[in-house]
């Protein structure tokens, strides 16, 4: 069959079945947005991992006069700030550990500076007094998994208030983000099932409304392909329209929510870039095409037996 004939059949079919076509488009749109968002969330986690895992370290917070940890209390039960001798000893011990890559010292002033930078322009920065942040040793490990060695060696030691693995904090955040991502994916999959059933039903209805045409086509010897292709193209086109619309929404999501609102207010962390949006868009389009084609082929096999 000539391409123009096929396309005119496809156009007629889509218009005749407008209600169901719109339903397919909208279902794929919702599935595409959810699937695309969970893909973008994954991209976001991976961007943050790349950025933060290089930066995070084990922090050994040192005692200040307002510390409450047992290791900071002097004989009189009052909190005692860490002494220079203790600091020197801790530093020497850290440097002698084979698992440690680098160590540097962060003073109260430096800590406050970093803090100010991170929360620039927010009320948190203005309300924190400059000497409220503890001084600390920042330790970079050769292998971040070796945190336990440092933890065990320095926890409870006098002058040390707390040993904290910042990676653990991040991992908690990432676990939460992953949970959201899985949730999004599950809802997207439910929508995909809905889209599949809807496409199957659309084809069933279309095959029924056009049974006269297909009956004649079979009798005059039209090939299976030319009988089934218009139906297949219709559902693929409807699905791709939905996918393209969801690509558009993902683009709007990136342009408005991320670039205009989130990125200016959360400058301490990077966000996924436009290439991730393009990847998500292509992914949604390809997946919806494949799903629509598969659903059509299975349904056509049942309802348009030649």
């Amino acid at each position: 069959m000539r391409a123009t004939v096929v396309m005119s059949e496809v156009g007629k079919g889509l218009r005749r079945n407008l209600g169901l076509t719109v339903a397919v488009v909208l279902t794929v749109l919702v599935a595409g947005v959810l699937g695309g968002l969970s893909f973008l969330l994954r991209e976001q986690v991976s961007v943050m991992k790349d950025y933060w895992y290089d930066k995070v370290e084990v922090s050994i917070y040192l005692c200040g006069t307002d510390s409450v940890a047992a290791s900071c209390l002097g004989p009189n039960g009052q909190a005692q700030a860490v002494t220079q001798a203790q600091k020197d000893q801790i530093l020497a011990d850290l440097q002698s550990l084979p698992q440690v890559k680098t160590v540097y010292y962060e003073s109260k002033a430096e800590a406050y500076q970093h803090f100010e930078q991170q929360f620039k322009g927010t009320s948190i920065a203005q309300n924190a007094p400059p000497d409220s942040l503890p001084e600390s040793f920042r330790v970079k490990l050769k292998n971040p998994q070796d945190f336990a060695v440092v933890h065990d060696a320095f926890t409870g030691r006098s002058g040390v208030e707390e040993v904290q693995d910042e990676r653990a904090l991040l991992d908690k955040l990432f676990a939460a983000l992953n949970g959201i991502q899985v949730g999004g994916l599950v809802i997207a999959l439910i929508m995909v099932v809905a889209a599949l059933l809807l496409i199957a039903n659309t084809i069933r209805v279309a095959a029924f409304t056009r049974r006269r045409e297909t009956g004649i086509m079979r009798l005059v010897g039209a090939s299976n392909l030319s009988i089934q292709l218009p139906f297949l193209l219709e559902s693929v086109i409807a699905a791709v329209m939905g996918a393209l619309l969801s690509w558009g929404l993902l683009t709007a999501f990136k342009a408005w929510l991320i670039d205009r609102i989130l990125a200016p207010n959360f400058q301490f962390t990077p966000f996924f870039g436009w290439n991730s949006v393009v990847k998500a868009g292509i992914l949604v389009v390809v997946v919806s095409m494949v799903i629509a084609a598969l659903a059509s082929m299975v349904t056509l096999r049942r309802y348009l037996r030649v």
Partner: protein
């Protein structure tokens, strides 16, 4: 052209076969009437020729092909060499006369210029020149059947299968349709026609195959409709 060897067709969930051990041969260029009461197996026989149904026993050869061994994707190629006409015309109501005939050619991939040439020719042949832009509901029954015949004949088939083509038409219109089928037969196309119409069979004096309960009970060249009626 067509050969049935001991063909039996038993539909699922039925006890008595619709066609029972039928052997017959139809040669190229013949005009054959299939007669018999309703349920005698005429339509099943035609459907097996079209490979709409497959026999449960025996073998069917059509146009040199063993239909039992013909794989599914080759069926369209076979059907392109056959034309089919039915009692209920089976025209597309939203297409014009021209478009109805053209549709059959479009869907088998004929190029546009061929269609533009063939369709007026075949409409002329069936006597519908000048009615190309009418829709089926603007035509009489006889004219609608002529459109269906034009569609069946447009691809110049070797075999024309007609299942009660005059069943919905009055006697005088039927005569016109029979003249047309006869003319098509004279071009060398084999015609197999199932019918109830005794007057037509008696008038045409062609080969008659009579079926009863799935068996061939009579096969006469230049026969009449029958005595038992």
């Amino acid at each position: 052209m067509i050969r049935f060897d001991n063909v039996t067709k038993l539909y699922p969930s039925q006890v008595r076969p619709a066609v029972d051990d039928v052997t017959l041969e139809i040669d190229k260029g013949e005009f054959v009437f299939l007669v018999g009461a309703s349920g005698s197996g005429k339509s099943t026989l035609l459907r097996m020729m079209l490979r709409e149904e497959r026999p449960t026993g025996g073998s069917v050869h059509v146009l040199g092909k063993d239909l039992n061994r013909l794989s599914g994707w080759k069926v369209p190629a076979l059907r392109r060499q056959m034309g089919t006409v039915f009692q209920d015309f089976r025209l597309l109501p939203n297409k014009t006369v021209f478009e109805n005939v053209a549709f059959a050619l479009e869907v088998i991939g004929k190029p546009r210029h061929t269609i533009a040439q063939v369709v007026p020719e075949v409409l002329e042949l069936v006597g519908l020149a000048g009615k190309e832009t009418r829709r089926p509901d603007e035509l009489s029954g006889g004219e609608q059947q002529r459109v269906a015949i034009a569609r069946a004949f447009a691809n110049r088939p070797l075999l024309l299968i007609a299942d009660e083509p005059t069943g919905n038409l009055d006697p005088s219109t039927s005569v016109g349709i029979m003249r047309l089928l006869d003319r098509i037969n004279r071009t060398g196309t084999t015609v197999v026609m199932a019918t109830h119409d005794a007057a037509i069979v008696d008038q045409m004096r062609k080969r008659v195959i009579e079926l009863e309960g799935g068996h061939v009970v009579r096969d006469q060249s230049r026969g009449v409709y029958g005595y038992s009626r």
